[in-house]
Subunit: 454 residues, 2 copies
């Protein structure tokens, strides 16, 4: 396959439109429709999927995807490491492995987690096919149809997809500049209690939340843990970006303060490379036992060769130094994004100022609709993800997620300039005609984080 | 990780005891027990799991596992191919990819399938994390709790595990020497019709069935397809071993005769190596669309690096020649197994004579219990999988699956000698005391294939 230049457009994240109930339609007659499981009827390709195919054309500046920029990886080190690995232990690395994952990698993962204050036993780690599969297996273990899960408002589109695939009910909990709002969390838990319901877990991304790009300070984490203790709430802490904090050392993980109540998800997709699909779950022993059985039913074992490849990289390369190099690369890109937004956004537009991760969360001036204007943005050769993708309940029409991880700083600046043009024209339309040329929408509730003002 | 000698015992297949309702118990207090989903309560480690850990010790001849023997793979070719691949297209091979899988690999897969008479479009292929994940995603798409799926009696333990994880009801359909019995299939379908039920699909392994090791001749396949047409039945054809037919060319797949009613599962685990975890589904277009959405919710995308690695192997190596070399290696091992059994099995023992694949299915003399005697077999340094693992309904006590794929011919012969000793002693006990020293069991129904007599 060495000659293959194109291998299709990466999906990067599940179709961001697929969680939106609007605009769904089957384009072909499906003769199998009466055979599907109940859960499959919600699995439909959204209308924006075709648009994203267009958005991946090279002339479009895509601020939509969440692909890490791995161009700086030392290809020689990886190539030589893999060659040696195959020659020395190929028959083991290419064989079936354990459902839990390779012991040596699980030890190395404990070292990685120690950078965020986590003390863990390799026996409590289960390897997954990226963090996404961790979400899948945990939802499989914990959630029956109709069960309630709590998630930030907005939340990661891939998690919402998985929660939807298991027919759960997602209850969004508001955020502020410091991430998940403890007051809103307590209110949500009290409301559930009063209605005789119980949340199976809270799903939270404490660092550089995807998509809102806000971070919980340590005091906030402890406050949330105290509420969890009070309400006997399980927490799933998803932390793909924690080591990519742009200012100073990583913050301690929630799991560092509580090993019984917090199930921690980690990933090598952002600190090394996503193509190996190696993530992990750190869970209390009983949950870990269920996870391994679920993993065996799902895949027999996670990809063994990938695990050996990641392990080899961690052994052969200064991976901490590599993370520092990633950080300075992302710092430049984030700054390009922030200065481009400051220069090009029309009055009334606000956005968050991330301290790490890949994204900025933007709130449009009143009356504008990010989903309605997406085709016009793509015509103007810039793409983003409309805010509605990150809500299970149809909110987010005034928001969009912009990513600064992949394009060059120059392209990012150009992208914000193009986006600024589109927004100015939309705002002009709105001033002239009173509404955007989309259908009228329900009013936005104030659940989204209050972004820093421009 | 190049220094790592041990990486834990491979699971190879999910715990074969986990589908058996007998002897289950939780060994630790699980404080999360009231939080789990309904489906999780069936996920328990079985009592035989500990025994299999012992069975993996080097002094034990394990005829239990289904690990392919990949010692003959050309490590130099694989190592150089991977090195070149990383240097040339590393940033692409290590990046996120599409939920459906890499286009070039899907084209190559169509070439592979053409060897079994299948004509397919790469657009109808979806890559999965081994065939196991294909089973998982298809069951997810098609089955609600309580739905009926048909499977051969006995059937693959990994499939039964997955069907169990989705809380389906497995109805076993009997086999004879030519695999799935059309008469039994029709009876099962009529019974379901009469009770107002409908099978979501038939799961079948036409070639060298796991565990029964029988093969459907072409006429039998057509007969089954005609019944499927008559009853509007969907078929999942699982074909991991088809190209490893020991005599002559591979038989045409069921999918070669019917592209609407047959969903075909393939895998590189046995024709190349399992550690990459690359399998695939060939499905009608509408089903493929659901599969990709399900794959995105489960993993975002299947392992990209693995897909490029497999693609590179197919491009750089005479993979058809390699399959011929695997076949002659497995032929020697199968013959060792068959001659060992002929020499060492006590009177009244029967077994199947496989024409490919990895296994022999053995039926014990009346009164003997394969699960009860397993500890004594392991003490005598030979291991197998008790027949009960391959039934969802507790049958199989008089059966065992013996695999000849992994050990050397000498070890296989020695294994059958040790097994013969154990059986002779068990038979002696039975003659002396009238029963084996296990609890009395329900009578075995005659659902299993009639094996060739010794």
């Amino acid at each position: 396959m060495s000659q293959s230049g194109k291998a299709g457009q990466p999906a990067v994240e599940p179709d961001p439109g697929s969680t939106s109930p609007a605009q769904r339609q089957d384009t072909r007659l499906d003769t199998y429709v009466d055979r599907y499981a109940e859960r499959a009827h919600g699995m439909k390709a959204s209308a924006v999927r075709a648009l994203f195919a267009v958005a991946n054309r090279p002339e479009v500046v895509s601020l939509a995807g969440g692909m890490p920029n791995i161009a700086d990886l030392p290809l020689n080190v990886v190539a030589d490491g893999l060659k040696d690995m195959v020659l020395e232990i190929g028959p083991q690395a290419m064989q079936y492995g354990s459902g839990q994952g390779e012991p040596m990698l699980r030890e190395q993962i404990c070292e990685v987690m120690s950078l965020e204050g986590i003390s863990a036993d390799p026996d409590d780690v289960t390897i997954t096919v990226g963090s996404q599969q961790a979400l899948d297996l945990l939802t499989r273990i914990f959630c029956d149809p109709g069960d309630v899960v709590l998630a930030e408002a907005p939340s990661y589109v891939g998690a919402l997809n998985t929660f939807g695939a298991y027919e759960t009910t997602v209850v969004h909990v508001g955020m502020d500049d410091d991430g998940l709002d403890p007051v809103a969390l307590r209110e949500a838990l009290v409301r559930l209690q009063q209605s005789g319901q119980r949340a199976k877990f809270l799903y939270t991304i404490p660092n550089f939340q995807n998509p809102a790009a806000v971070t919980q300070p340590v005091a906030r984490r402890k406050e949330i843990l105290a509420i969890a203790e009070e309400f006997d709430l399980l927490i799933i802490e998803d932390n793909p970006y924690g080591l990519l904090r742009l200012s100073g050392d990583p913050l301690p993980a929630m799991r560092a303060f509580d090993s019984d109540r917090v199930i921690y998800l980690g990933s090598f997709s952002k600190t090394f490379a996503p193509g190996f699909r190696v993530g992990w779950v750190l869970a209390p022993h009983a949950v870990r036992e269920k996870l391994v059985l679920a993993q065996e039913a799902a895949t027999l074992c996670p990809p063994v060769f990938s695990q050996f490849a990641v392990s080899s990289y961690l052994s052969n390369h200064d991976w901490k130094g590599q993370i520092e190099s990633f950080k300075s690369m992302y710092l430049t890109r984030r700054d390009a994004m922030l200065s481009g937004l400051a220069e090009h956004m029309p009055t009334g537009t606000t956005w968050t100022h991330p301290d790490g991760g890949f994204f900025v969360w933007l709130t449009l001036p009143e009356g504008l609709d990010s989903q309605a204007m997406l085709p016009r943005a793509v015509s103007n050769r810039v793409a983003y993800v409309p805010g509605t993708a990150f809500y299970a309940d149809g909110l987010g029409t005034r928001n969009m997620r912009l990513s600064y991880c992949f394009p060059t700083p120059e392209r990012i600046l150009e992208g914000t300039r193009r986006l600024g043009d589109v927004l100015a024209r939309e705002a002009e339309l709105h001033r002239t005609f009173g509404i955007s040329d989309n259908q009228p929408r329900i009013a936005e509730r104030s659940q989204a984080p209050r972004p820093n003002q421009r």
